[in-house]
């Protein structure tokens, strides 16, 4: 995986060959534009530690595919607005894991425009919110008229740890074409008492049990990172519980 610095990303960052990128410290205020040329398969992994605020506009050209892994463990605010447009045969897969806490207020909007036929999008957002935090997942998958044979799925899941924290998940589908597949799912819930009891009945403290459950919840994001970054993420989760 090739490491990039957020500061070095130009106004229009072009992916012109198959490559996997990693941005550590995906933090600060910035607008980014990314273009995938035709027939490129790439991935972009980002780890946010203090907070990101800005728009990320992504254009994926014909028959290209981008997989994004966004690990958000920012202490502060995050307000990230991702919009993707897909040309014919283009695919985007977006994974987000967010741990929101300590009065922070975060929102992630992930929208995809299916502008042509045979396009694919999968939005998979996971969040844990605790300690008076507020976390919002939203965004619209829009399949435009003429984008037949396209598929989209928007999924948002938030686990709310305590009474004072707020989780809102409201992905939206907008469909103007018949011959397509679309689905969405949103779940906001608290950590199950039964699960906690089960783990604690084996001697795990409440904190340890919650850490394991949270870790299990946010873990799918790990697939997008190298081993050393996985360790960092693991420690971040443990340190925050």
């Amino acid at each position: 995986m090739k490491e990039l610095l957020l500061d070095n990303i130009s106004d229009n960052f072009v992916f012109d060959k198959n490559e996997n990128f990693f941005i550590n410290n995906f933090d600060g205020e910035k607008d980014i534009k990314i273009t995938l040329n035709e027939d490129v398969e790439s991935s972009l992994s980002m780890l946010s530690l203090s907070g990101f605020k800005g728009n990320i506009n992504i254009k994926i050209n014909k028959n290209s595919r981008l997989e994004i892994y966004y690990a958000d463990f920012a202490k502060n605010l995050s307000k990230t607005n991702v919009s993707v447009s897909l040309e014919e045969g283009a695919k985007v897969i977006f994974h987000l894991a967010s741990l929101t806490e300590d009065n922070s207020n975060k929102s992630f909007t992930v929208s995809v425009d299916h502008d042509a036929i045979n396009t694919y999008s999968l939005i998979d957002n996971y969040g844990v919110v605790k300690g008076n935090g507020k976390l919002v997942f939203d965004g619209t998958s829009y399949i435009k008229n003429g984008s037949a044979k396209s598929k989209t799925r928007q999924s948002a899941k938030i686990m709310v740890f305590d009474e004072k924290s707020i989780g809102i998940a409201k992905p939206v589908l907008k469909i103007d074409e018949n011959d397509i597949e679309a689905s969405h799912g949103a779940v906001v819930g608290k950590i199950s008492d039964e699960h906690l009891f089960y783990l604690m009945s084996r001697g795990l403290s409440e904190e340890k049990a919650k850490t394991l459950i949270t870790y299990g919840y946010l873990k799918p994001i790990m697939n997008g990172f190298d081993e050393n970054v996985q360790k960092t993420i693991e420690q971040l989760i443990e340190g925050r519980m």
Binding site: S201, R202, G216
Partner: protein
């Protein structure tokens, strides 16, 4: 030697009284069969002993070697040497079984086990319960069959080695071979002096693990505390005799069960 003393224990769930004055003593080295018709509070008792948050204790005390465990958190009770094999173990998605088992073992040992030690322990315990090793690497009980979940409970019992174990219908969902395996593990641990309080509706399990006593819970109380032959008698005759001989009216479940006898169900269940 550990002794658990339950005195006049009353508990409710969502405002509904379930346990209505339970008195029971269990010492390490004993295996006590806990019987009783459906819905009379057996699982409630075990859950209360382990500190399930759903149940509220309204009266009474539970002493383990003189210490009141009702004031302790669930994890403290576990560390003190109590174990509950659940009637319906939860599926906890995302939590890897072996991560969970290792964390549990670490809570019960002075210093954390090394990766090598852990895999040795896990390997020998999975072999003992004849559980495919890959179940240990999957999500905790996630997609496990009924019998696999029960084996996973017994695996945890082996790994944590408590002083006193409560087993809630550990035999339900087990095929004949698995029942034998589980019974063998229980017998081995009995020989080592572990104490057991075992709920089952079927004499088959009791025949294998040879309880030292049998108690019957009726209407949220222990109505009978006697020798192990009571388990056989219930298997053959059901619970009606308790009413005639002891004059206890056996409350029936709201959804009409025309007989509280489990004899005939027991036969059907074991043929399946």
């Amino acid at each position: 030697m550990s002794t658990l003393v339950i005195k006049d224990l009353c508990a409710e769930v969502e405002g509904k009284p379930i346990l209505k004055g339970v008195n029971l003593t269990l010492s390490k080295g004993e295996t006590v069969a806990l019987l009783g018709p459906n819905g009379h509070g057996k699982s409630t008792l075990l859950n209360v002993l382990m500190g399930h948050p759903k149940y509220k204790v309204t009266k009474g005390e539970v002493l383990l070697d003189g210490k009141n465990i009702l004031e302790m958190s669930t994890d403290e009770r576990s560390k003190l040497g109590l174990f509950l094999g659940m009637q319906n173990p939860s599926e906890v998605p995302g939590v890897i079984n072996s991560d969970f088992l290792r964390a549990a073992i670490n809570e019960h040992s002075e210093k954390p086990v090394s990766t090598y030690q852990f895999y040795k322990l896990l390997d020998s315990a999975t072999k003992e319960v004849k559980m495919p090793f890959d179940l240990a690497t999957r999500g905790l009980n996630e997609g496990f069959s009924g019998g696999e979940k029960k084996r996973n409970e017994i695996l945890q019992l082996l790994l944590l080695n408590p002083e006193i174990a409560f087993l809630d219908e550990i035999d339900s969902g087990l095929d004949v071979d698995a029942l034998q395996i589980v019974a063998d593990v229980i017998c081995k641990l009995e020989d080592k002096g572990m104490g057991f309080l075992v709920i089952s509706h079927y004499a088959r399990l009791y025949d294998l693990i040879k309880p030292t006593r049998a108690v019957v819970m009726i209407n949220g109380r222990i109505a009978v505390d006697a020798g192990p032959e009571v388990a056989q008698r219930i298997d053959k005759q059901g619970y009606e005799w308790i009413k005639t001989e002891l004059g206890i009216e056996v409350a029936k479940e709201e959804k009409d069960m025309n007989t509280v006898s489990i004899g005939s169900c027991a036969v059907k269940e074991s043929i399946k």
